[in-house]
């Protein structure tokens, strides 16, 4: 039997210290003027900020609101401003903050719905605007696939890092340009535009250019690098934006190579399936 391995440090029941959590509270109806509530939380080794919030909700104030789902840095729901930096609550251990007081605020650069719940609608609108999906000219094949598009490992590596985005919004919260220019697409959407532009199966580069290379696109990036520092998945949006600028510069001088979308991979006609490997499930779409 395989023993479960914790990536968050070994949890114990021993209380290491009491930490004061100062939480910014806001509710359009009941708390129209934001205020700070303080909660004393007994912190144990391995306890995350998300665990602390659960403790507060269960023991101290059941009206406190925040958003979470997976508890393991995958869903991107629990992004919040922790001690002045955008982080995932589930991915941040209280003791690693090395502080006796922890400030919790909703993500900046977004409107707040309630307490620590940001309104991420603008993030998804911007994300949608760059058409973050495979665009090809062979619409018939896309609508009714007859196989898989060919892609080498090298071609996969060109965009794989940027495909790890979990849409948590931390990069947008960290970006100084998003803070002043509300129409700036921001690191999240621009990185996803680059991710699909780099995909060998895609040929929608020209369909994304009006947004990504528009007045409020990549050229507004100051390369502060705050997005890459905040990203919990190592996506490095600042890098993606600089690569996009490089491609734009190449295109201006006619040096950007034309892209032809990858063809269908040849069907496997020979070989023998290993024993015990079942058939693929039938298509549902």
């Amino acid at each position: 039997m395989i023993e479960p391995v914790s990536t968050q440090g070994e949890k114990t029941d021993e209380i290491v210290k009491n930490v004061k959590f100062k939480v910014l509270r806001f509710d359009r109806d009941t708390i129209p003027s934001p205020r700070v509530d303080s909660f004393d939380v007994p912190v144990k080794k391995g306890m995350t900020v998300l665990d602390a919030l659960q403790y507060i909700k269960e023991n101290l104030d059941s009206t406190l609101s925040w958003r979470f789902s997976c508890r393991m840095g995958v869903c991107g729901s629990c992004g919040m401003f922790i001690n002045g930096f955008p982080r995932l609550a589930c991915n941040t251990q209280v003791l690693e903050l090395e502080a006796d007081v922890v400030d919790l605020k909703p993500l900046p650069n977004f409107d707040t719905i309630k307490d620590l719940v940001p309104d991420l609608a603008v993030l998804f609108e911007k994300h949608r605007s760059v058409r973050p999906f495979t665009l090809r000219k062979d619409i018939a094949e896309l609508d009714n696939p007859s196989g898989e598009f060919f892609q080498t490992t090298d071609e996969l590596q060109r965009y794989l890092q940027f495909a790890y985005c979990i849409k948590c919004g931390l990069c947008m919260a960290a970006c100084p340009t998003v803070a002043t220019d509300r129409r700036y697409l921001g690191p999240q959407a621009l990185t996803q535009a680059h991710r699909y532009n780099m995909d060998s199966r895609d040929e929608g580069r020209d369909e994304r250019k009006d947004e990504a290379l528009g007045t409020h696109g990549v050229f507004r990036c100051h390369f502060a690098g705050a997005c890459s520092e905040a990203c919990p998945k190592g996506v490095d949006p600042a890098f993606a934006i600089q690569l996009m600028k490089r491609d734009a510069l190449k295109a201006s001088f006619g040096l950007l190579r034309k892209k032809k979308a990858a063809p269908l991979a040849p069907k496997v006609t020979s070989g023998k399936r290993m024993e015990g490997v079942p058939d693929a499930p039938k298509r549902t779409v």
Binding site: T177, T180, D181, R182, R183, Y184, R205, D206, K209, D210, L213, G214, T215, H216, G217, F219, R220, K245, D247, A248, L249, A251, S252, F253, L256
Partner: protein
């Protein structure tokens, strides 16, 4: 993958590179040429300035430097203003005003440079 903005931005970079070279030459002549002994006398003296203005190469260089500096500076100013979350209509108005200001300043500067050159050369 070209857009209007990517073309403007490319020119911004090109203008930056041009400024780097021409301003470098300007700074060298004004502050270092004497130090290296390549120019005799005070480069800021009236006679030295007039002597340089006679030279067509200098006149052209300063007109190009003026154009590059105006474009680079005004495009940068436009970017700063655009980052203040203004409306699209305001953006269009500001773009037009900056183009008009740029053209006017260029005409004044280019006229000044070339007029002195022409007068000195007796054209």
């Amino acid at each position: 993958m070209r857009t209007r903005e990517s073309t403007l931005w490319t020119w911004h970079l090109v203008a930056g590179a041009v400024i780097l070279v021409l301003l470098g030459i300007h700074m060298f002549i004004m502050h270092l040429a004497d130090f290296f002994g390549t120019v005799q006398g005070d480069v800021l003296e009236f006679s030295s300035v007039m002597e340089r203005s006679l030279d067509a190469t200098f006149a052209v260089m300063y007109v190009v430097l003026l154009a590059a500096a105006l474009y680079h500076g005004l495009y940068g100013l436009r970017n700063i203003i655009f980052e203040l979350s203004i409306s699209e209509r305001a953006e269009r108005v500001i773009s037009v005003l900056l183009v008009l200001a740029g053209v006017a300043l260029f005409l004044v500067g280019a006229y000044g440079t070339l007029a002195v050159h022409s007068a000195q050369a007796g054209v």
